[in-house]
């Protein structure tokens, strides 16, 4: 298992997620279409790839289409076509269906050319027809097929910005829903994955029903044991020796197991050792790297974005104020307790309509956006790093909620 920060991983580099894989595997085999969500860098693509790899071993067909670069449904179909290309029985058949665009035989062209030619043959008028044909061919295969449409929300958001975007999004999702309803018996399963945003997007457009056939599955962080095990596995395979307490110390610092953060921290630790001509990573290096790299200037941008994202995401000033209250309390008191929630509701009652409901909504958003998570006593930050930074940034002037009088 090697240290990787950025690309998806599979096979030997894929770590754990056994419970999640078991659930997803079962859902897929049962013919359920799945909506896989989770914060960015949580490992959605990796788990989709690993699931596909395992299904392939069981004679399933696996198609992976990353549609983040697509600007219209035509591009999405073309990307799916590229994924289909290695399955010659489908690609040849599809090439025949689009014979106007294929002068050479399928063997003479590459996957990229195949995608290009398919794309050339698609237009606003024909994409639904050809796309339907392509997916139907997939469903016709003797073995079941899993198609993953990765980063679909990014594509939809882009399309939404175009002229008549709302209608285009609706058309695409309706087309997809209609088509999938035609495939029965689990011969063709779709998994849509993407970071947060698809559900709020369709809700905002008033078309939530377009995706209600998906089984939602949210991917969370690793727990403590898995995180430490992962770090130990990385250490075993590292050229730099890593002291035994390092994994524990890293988790103590992060207090969460977002795979990318874990990998990033580990890579920083080994880089730190290499740059300082150390032949090993010591426990004391963890604090050094945490403060200088993760909380230091390099890490600041990453954290600052949590703040700016909140400002963008909560357009309403009152919601933003409430969110800042919750986060400041959670960062300084470790937990935003149910009692603090009730007290905050009472404090804001004079100035905010339905204050308790608004607080609940804001809490949902914060949870959904990955800032906080439920815990025994209420809600807490998902990441120690973010909590420490938030406390340093906003904690100084924060008066604990239970010590405050009503807001005027």
């Amino acid at each position: 298992m090697k240290s990787v920060t950025g690309p998806w991983v599979s096979g030997e580099d894929f770590f754990d997620r056994e419970n999640e894989l078991q659930i997803l595997d079962q859902r897929v085999r049962d013919g359920n279409h799945v909506l896989l969500t989770g914060q960015r860098r949580m490992g959605k693509t990796s788990i989709a790839m690993e699931l596909g790899r395992r299904l392939q071993a069981d004679e399933w067909g696996f198609l992976f289409a990353d549609v983040e670069g697509a600007t219209g449904p035509e591009d999405v179909i073309a990307v799916i076509a590229e994924a289909v290309y290695p399955i010659r029985s489908i690609s040849s058949r599809f090439a025949k269906a689009m014979h106007r665009w294929f002068t050479e035989s399928i063997e003479e062209i590459s996957a990229y050319d195949f995608r290009l030619k398919v794309r050339a043959g698609l237009s606003e008028e024909t994409w639904q027809q050809h796309g339907g044909t392509l997916l139907r061919y997939c469903a016709d295969l003797a073995n079941p097929v899993l198609l993953v449409l990765d980063e679909l929300p990014i594509f939809l958001k882009r399309m939404l910005r175009q002229k008549g975007g709302r209608q285009k999004v609706d058309e695409f999702l309706s087309w997809l829903r209609g088509l999938l309803q035609q495939f029965s018996g689990g011969s063709f399963v779709l998994m849509v994955s993407g970071s947060i945003g698809l559900t709020p997007l369709v809700r905002r457009l008033g078309i939530s029903d377009r995706i209600n056939y998906f089984y939602p599955f949210q991917l969370g962080p690793w727990n403590r044991e898995v995180t430490i095990e992962c770090l130990n596995r990385l250490a075993e395979n590292s050229t730099v020796k890593v002291d035994s307490g390092v994994a524990n110390a890293v988790y103590e610092r992060l207090d969460t197991g977002i795979p990318h953060q874990v990998q990033f921290f580990f890579a920083r630790l080994t880089d730190h050792a290499l740059m300082h001509s150390q032949d090993r990573v010591a426990v004391e290096d963890v604090d050094d790297v945490y403060h200088n790299d993760l909380l230091g200037p390099a890490g600041q941008n990453y954290l600052v974005h949590y703040e700016s994202r909140l400002i963008d995401g909560l357009g309403d000033d009152q919601d933003l104020t409430i969110a800042m209250e919750i986060l400041a309390e959670a960062s300084t008191k470790d937990v935003f307790t149910l009692e603090a929630q009730r007290q905050l509701g009472r404090l804001y009652l004079p100035i905010v309509d339905n204050a308790p409901d608004r607080i609940s909504e804001v809490l949902d958003i914060l949870e959904h956006e990955g800032y906080i998570e439920a815990c025994g006593g209420g809600r807490r930050f998902t990441s120690r790093l973010l909590k420490d930074w938030w406390a340093a940034r906003f904690g100084n002037n924060h008066v604990p909620i239970e010590r405050r009088g009503p807001v005027r």
Binding site: P7, W8, T239, A298, N301
Partner: protein
């Protein structure tokens, strides 16, 4: 040694029009970062999903060089090169506005890359590129170009490593879908690896909503550490320097390899002190470079950047806005752009966010240019660093005097001083005057008519000698500006006369002119004067003129050394030795001995200890049997200088042997200069005993120096006695013997009050030892009063005073003085405080105060603090 050409390191566009061999040879630092990148690439060989890398660092940190080095590795014969192919984009990807442009550019550079290894495919790609660029309105251009690139990669059987610089500007200039479209390929196509650079960690890298969030393995190219700076310096300048010597240059360049190469190329073989003094000239030489960088910025950004540079310390948005006379909001957004360009750095967040120029020398350039060389704060800092870093690691007050006693040239007063500084001045002066003194003193008042009875030679000497004497008197009284025209009139009026006695005086007048310019610091003029003299008299066969020419050459070498051009200086001196070593004339032997001694000191300045000792041994071996005292002075000094080198190398036993040999050989001499040499050697013996911890012998020898030589009427000897007493006091202080220290100090004070000989440095040294002795004796208020008086007289421009202030303040702290009170004194005069800013900042930091100062000052202050702590540890 490599030739200068070989050592030239490309400062800009490394890798462009350079062979891979050249790139590999010039790649001296950043090996660890190279290792990390190559490890990542190796890990990508078999993976279906590649790790992409982004190297982040401000301008000049070596990103392009590292890319060029990776490209060279990918072209070399190895496993990586069989699996991967570098595709290097131009530094500024001006042609890329959308994803189609990106793939077209990739196609273009890919075709260039394979033109030699696979000309057929290269031609094919060029045709596709030409075809596609011709159809810029065609549909699916991006898809087609992308497909062509990926197909080519398949055909080549190698993954493509796209090397793209300035990713932050690329992402600025393209349409909004670009990032996601590129990411799609990077995520899904294992044939494509992106190895990018950025001048800063631009915001979109860390924004969860942006495509490149978390995509890259980030590699920060940190400033070079002292060891890396040292290695790079060695490659560029050819000089092997210590970490101590490289430290100020590391601070001034901020560990930026490009700036370090610029300084190293400029440095030649200048000594550190000269280099620091001439840093402003470097700025002058590179004005175009610095200005070009400024002019590349849009006017409003430039205005903000200049304000940040002028403030020269991490400053808030509002401070920069006030300096730029612009509104805060605009400045805030312009600072963001400047950060993206990598020319400004930010630290902290929110309201505490502070900004400063990313490349350090730019602030210095700007302040020096803007204030037309009057940027006192810059000059003071450079002077401070020059003094602080040219000394050894742990300099104490005692060391200052030990080093001075051991290694510095003899300085005398009056005629003695002139004799020491103008080679053979004494001999030539005496002989010249005696030779022109043919007319009896009584005949000096001859009338004009009686002059006509004299020979032409006598008449000429009669006319020239008053001018010669006048020039010398003016020179000796320090009135250099008045002396020059007098000497010049001798050259002008008598220069064409071929009578030997006249010629020698003209030659000496020419040398004197050069020497005065040297003393005034006008080294170019001095060298021109010496060259003119050598040109005019170089072929003379008159023995005394030949000696003067040889002496003039030695002077020229010394001036070249003062100029910091040690390579030329050594060349000049070696030529003197080569040209005159077979000349048996006593005065010429004296010149050659002096030349060899001088050569040794120059080698020492270059840190070439073995060669330095060789030169001293040469003096000792060649001239030990010479019967002339004037020559023996050089032998004695060579023996003592050799002992100093041995002490520095820690070889105390050999050093002791060398010093004791001086005493046993010349101990009974009555010749004042030789006696001074003996005292100097004895002082070194005392120093060696001190360093060995042999207190008894050390004190015994100090006492013997005072007893044996107290009555000698030689200014030079008397100065050494004063120094001996200073060192003895300091030694008692080191030993913690407060009573002995104070009583020796009082003895020294009485001696100075009775008119004992001392130069300013000894008087100042006495003042400092008094402070230390009082502190050790728990008389803190008296000590602070004395310190106050030193500070009152402190002249920031006086190097000796600055040097003693640097070591004195830390010695006081080690002795437990109230740091707050010392700090108050140091800050009581604004101008002096500026000159001592690193000490003041260091003390504030020790006292836990928050300090805001230029990064350069902070780093020097940290070194000052470190020195204080080390001294303190050593004492405990």
């Amino acid at each position: 040694m490599d030739s200068v050409q070989d050592r030239m390191i490309r400062k800009f566009n490394p890798g462009t029009f350079q062979s891979d061999e050249e790139v590999i040879r010039q790649f001296t630092v950043r090996e660890r970062e190279l290792g990390i990148v190559l490890d990542v690439l190796r890990g990508n060989i078999k993976t279906p999903s590649c790790q992409h890398v982004l190297m982040v660092a401000p301008r000049g940190r070596g990103k392009t060089m590292l890319l060029a080095r990776v490209a060279a590795e990918l072209r070399a014969e190895n496993e990586l090169s069989r699996k991967m192919l570098p595709v290097r984009f131009m530094e500024e990807s001006h042609e890329v506005f959308d994803i189609a442009d990106f793939w077209l550019e990739t196609l273009f550079y890919l075709s260039k890359e394979i033109v030699r290894s696979d000309p057929d495919l290269a031609r094919e790609l060029q045709t596709v590129h030409a075809d596609l660029t011709g159809q810029w309105r065609g549909e699916f251009l991006a898809e087609r170009a992308r497909a062509a690139v990926l197909d080519a990669s398949d055909k080549l059987g190698r993954k493509l490593v796209l090397m793209i610089e300035n990713m932050q500007t690329l992402c600025d200039d393209v349409d909004e879908d670009f990032g996601w479209q590129l990411r799609e390929t990077l995520q899904t196509e294992p044939q494509v690896i992106l190895l990018g650079t950025a001048t800063s960690r631009f915001e979109r890298l860390d924004d969860l909503r942006e495509p490149f969030f978390g995509l890259f393995r980030m590699l920060d190219l940190k400033p070079l550490d002292a060891e890396a700076c040292r290695r790079l310096w060695q490659v560029v300048s050819g000089d092997d320097v210590s970490e101590r010597r490289i430290r100020p240059l590391q601070i001034l360049t901020g560990g930026n390899p490009r700036l370090l190469v610029i300084v190293a190329e400029f440095a030649g073989h200048r000594s550190l002190r000269k280099l620091m003094e001439e840093l402003v000239s470097l700025v002058d030489d590179h004005t175009e470079y610095f200005r070009g960088h400024l002019e590349a910025l849009p006017p409003t950004e430039r205005r903000v950047y200049l304000a940040a540079m002028d403030l020269w310390q991490p400053s808030s948005t509002s401070e920069i806005a006030a300096r730029a006379r612009m509104d805060v909001r605009s400045v805030s957004s312009l600072l963001g752009r400047l950060i993206d360009r990598g020319v400004v750095m930010a630290q902290g967040t929110g309201r505490k966010r502070l900004y400063s120029a990313a490349e350090r020398l730019y602030s210095i350039y700007y302040k020096v240019r803007r204030e037309r060389g009057e940027a006192a704060i810059v000059h003071y800092l450079i002077r401070f660093m020059s003094m602080f870093y040219t000394k050894q690691e742990l300099v104490t007050m005692a060391d200052t005097f030990r080093m001075e006693a051991a290694g510095f040239p003899i300085i005398k007063e009056g005629l003695d001083r002139a004799r020491a500084e103008i080679p053979h001045f004494g001999y030539l002066y005496d002989h010249a005057v005696s030779s022109v003194a043919e007319p009896e003193p009584s005949s000096m008042g001859f009338s004009k008519s009686s002059l006509s009875d004299l020979s032409q030679r006598q008449q000429l000497l009669f006319r020239i000698s008053p001018k010669w004497i006048e020039g010398n008197i003016l020179y000796l009284s320090g009135n250099y500006d008045a002396a020059i025209p007098v000497y010049a009139s001798i050259v002008e009026e008598f220069g064409r006369i071929k009578i030997p006695d006249v010629e020698i005086l003209v030659a000496m007048a020419s040398v004197s002119i050069g020497h005065i310019y040297d003393r005034k610091g006008d080294y170019d003029v001095a060298i021109a004067s010496y060259d003119e003299m050598i040109e005019r008299f170089g072929k003379s066969t008159e023995p005394r003129v030949k000696v003067t020419v040889a002496a003039c050459l030695v002077n020229k070498g010394t001036t070249q050394c003062h100029q910091g051009d040690l390579e030329s200086a050594i060349n000049t001196i070696e030529n003197v030795v080569k040209q005159y070593e077979t000349d048996a004339m006593t005065q010429m032997r004296e010149v050659v001995a002096r030349a060899l001694l001088t050569l040794g000191t120059f080698k020492g300045q270059l840190g070439k200890r073995a060669e330095e000792i060789e030169s001293y041994d040469e003096v000792i071996n060649r001239f030990s049997s010479d019967t002339k005292d004037a020559v023996q002075v050089f032998v004695a000094n060579a023996m003592t200088n050799k002992s100093v080198v041995l002490i520095e190398c820690g070889d105390f036993e050999e050093a002791l042997v060398a010093c004791e040999a001086v005493e046993s050989r010349y101990g009974g001499t009555g010749e004042p200069e030789l006696m001074a040499s003996v005292v100097r050697a004895m002082l070194n013996v005392g120093n060696i005993h001190m360093q060995k911890g042999d207190h008894q012998n050390a004190i015994a020898i100090f006492n013997r120096i005072v007893e044996d030589y107290d009555k000698v009427e030689s200014v030079e000897v008397q100065i050494y006695i004063t120094r001996t007493l200073i060192i003895k006091t300091l030694y008692f202080i080191e030993l913690g013997k407060s009573e002995d220290a104070l009583s020796t100090c009082e003895k020294l004070e009485r001696r100075l009050q009775d008119g004992g000989k001392a130069q300013n440095s000894e008087e100042l040294g006495f003042a400092w030892v008094k402070v230390m002795a009082l502190l050790l004796h728990s008389q803190e208020q008296d000590a602070l009063a004395s310190f106050n008086s030193i500070y009152h007289d402190f002249d920031p421009v006086n190097e000796a005073a600055l040097s003693m202030m640097q070591s004195g303040v830390s010695d006081m702290i080690v002795l437990g003085v109230s740091e707050r009170e010392v700090l108050d004194v140091l800050q009581s005069d604004e101008r002096k405080a500026q000159a001592l800013s690193p000490i003041i900042v260091a003390m504030k930091m020790r006292l836990g105060e928050t300090v805001r100062a230029p990064a350069e000052v902070i780093e020097v202050a940290e070194d000052v603090m470190r020195t204080m702590e080390e001294k303190s540890n050593r004492r405990t």
